[in-house]
C-alpha cells in the first residue's frame, strides 16, 4: 500500500515531508472535516496522539495528530490533520471600576470525538488553552485550569500576564 496515493485519494491538499515521513492534510472546508477523518480511520489511523492549536494573527489552526496501532506500515507515521478558522474580532468591555479589558471570543470547530474517542481529553485541553470550542464534544469542561480562567486563553499570543487578578479564598 502506497500511503501517498491513498492519502491523495482522500484529500487533494496533502503536504508531505519525505525526509521525516511525516504527512499533513490541510482541510479547506470545515464541513468536509468529519468525512476526511472518517476515511482516514478506515485507512487504519485509529487513535489521536495530540490535539493542539496554533495562534496566527488572523486565524487559529487546529491540528489533530493521528497515528495507528493496528496497521503495520502506518505505525511510524504521525499524520497531521489541520483546519484553520478565522478569529472573531475582540470585544472591548469595561468593568464597574472603569477598567477597560478586551474579551476574546472563542472559535468553533467540529469535534472529532465521534470518530476518534481517544481525543476526548486532548480536545478539552485545547479548549481551555486556546479557546477552541469543539462542537459535538460530549463533555467540554476545563481539564487542568480552575474555572475562573474563563475567556482568558493562556496559550494565545495576546494573553497578558496578570498576577493581581488571582483570588485565593
Amino acid at each position: 500500500m502506497n500511503i501517498k496515493d491513498e492519502l491523495s485519494k482522500i484529500s487533494t491538499n496533502v503536504v508531505i515531508e519525505e525526509k521525516k515521513a511525516n504527512y499533513k492534510i490541510v482541510v479547506d472546508d470545515l464541513s468536509k472535516l468529519i468525512d476526511i477523518a472518517n476515511s482516514l480511520k478506515n485507512l487504519g489511523f485509529d487513535h489521536v496522539v495530540s490535539v493542539t492549536g496554533i495562534d496566527y494573527p488572523d486565524k487559529i489552526e487546529v491540528v489533530w495528530h493521528v497515528s495507528s496501532y493496528s496497521v503495520d506500515n502506518l505505525k511510524g507515521i504521525n499524520l497531521a490533520l489541520s483546519v484553520a478558522v478565522k478569529k472573531p474580532e475582540p470585544i472591548k468591555q469595561s468593568d464597574p471600576q472603569g477598567n477597560i479589558y478586551i474579551k476574546r471570543p472563542p472559535v468553533t470547530v467540529p469535534s472529532l470525538v465521534s470518530v476518534w474517542p481517544s481525543g476526548i481529553f486532548n480536545e478539552r485541553e485545547a479548549f481551555e488553552m486556546f479557546g477552541i470550542i469543539f462542537e459535538g464534544h460530549p463533555d467540554l469542561r476545563y481539564l487542568m485550569l480552575p474555572e475562573d480562567f474563563y475567556e482568558t486563553w493562556p496559550m494565545r499570543k495576546d494573553f497578558t500576564y496578570q498576577r493581581a487578578k488571582v483570588f485565593i479564598e
Binding site: P146, F149, T152, F159, Y161, R163, V166, I168, E169
Partner: protein, 177 residues
C-alpha cells in the same frame, strides 16, 4: 479570714482562678517554659506541593535528621503547627494549601521553600502559578532550587529564634476558625 473550722474564704473562686492564671501567664518563667516547649516541637504538616518535597523528605530522614530539632512531619493538619510550602504552587494547589493552613491550630508558622515559593523561580511569568506570600503569612524563606536539607534546617532554626524572641505572643492567641 478564717471561720471556726479553719477554712479560708477568698471570695468567688472563679475570679480567683482567673487571676491566678493571669499571674502565671505573665510570669517570665511560664513564658520561657512555653517557648522552650514550642520551639522544639515544630511539627510540619506533610503536604508536598512540588519537587522541593524530595529535599523535605531527605531533611526528615536519618542522614540529616531534623527530628533532633523537633521537626517531625505529620499526616494530618490538626496536630501540626508548621507548614512548609515546598516549591511552586499552582492556583488550584494554592487553594488546597490555604485550606490546610486554616485547619491548623494557632500558633502556627510558615516556611516558603525554594525559589518558586519565594518569587516564582522559573515559572515567574506563568499563567497558573502563584507565590506563597500572596496567600500565606510567610515567616522564613529558604532560597535555592532546590534548597539543600541544611538550608531547611537553617529555616527551622530561624523560626525557633523567632519563637524565643516573640514569646509574649504565644499565649492568648485564639483560633480564628
Amino acid at each position: 479570714m478564717a471561720d471556726a473550722e479553719g477554712l479560708i474564704y477568698l471570695g468567688n473562686l472563679d475570679d480567683v482562678a482567673k487571676k491566678a492564671l493571669e499571674f502565671l501567664n505573665q510570669s517570665e518563667f511560664m513564658k520561657k517554659t512555653l517557648s522552650w516547649g514550642v520551639d522544639f516541637s515544630l511539627w510540619p504538616v506533610h503536604l508536598m506541593t512540588s519537587c522541593c518535597g524530595a529535599e523535605f523528605a531527605a531533611a526528615a530522614s536519618p542522614r540529616f535528621d531534623l527530628e533532633r530539632l523537633g521537626f517531625l512531619p505529620f499526616g494530618g493538619p490538626r496536630q501540626t503547627n508548621l507548614i512548609v510550602v515546598e516549591g511552586t504552587t499552582t492556583i488550584k494547589m494554592a487553594r488546597v494549601v490555604k485550606r490546610v493552613y486554616e485547619q491548623m491550630p494557632n500558633p502556627k508558622w510558615v516556611i516558603a521553600m525554594g525559589a518558586c515559593a519565594m518569587d516564582g523561580g522559573i515559572f515567574f511569568n506563568s499563567y497558573n502559578t502563584i507565590v506563597a506570600r500572596e496567600y500565606l503569612p510567610v515567616d522564613a524563606y529558604v532560597p535555592g532550587c532546590p534548597p539543600r536539607p541544611e538550608a531547611l534546617a537553617r529555616a527551622v532554626l530561624l523560626i525557633q529564634e523567632k519563637i524565643k524572641r516573640e514569646k509574649d505572643k504565644l499565649l492568648g492567641v485564639k483560633n480564628e476558625h
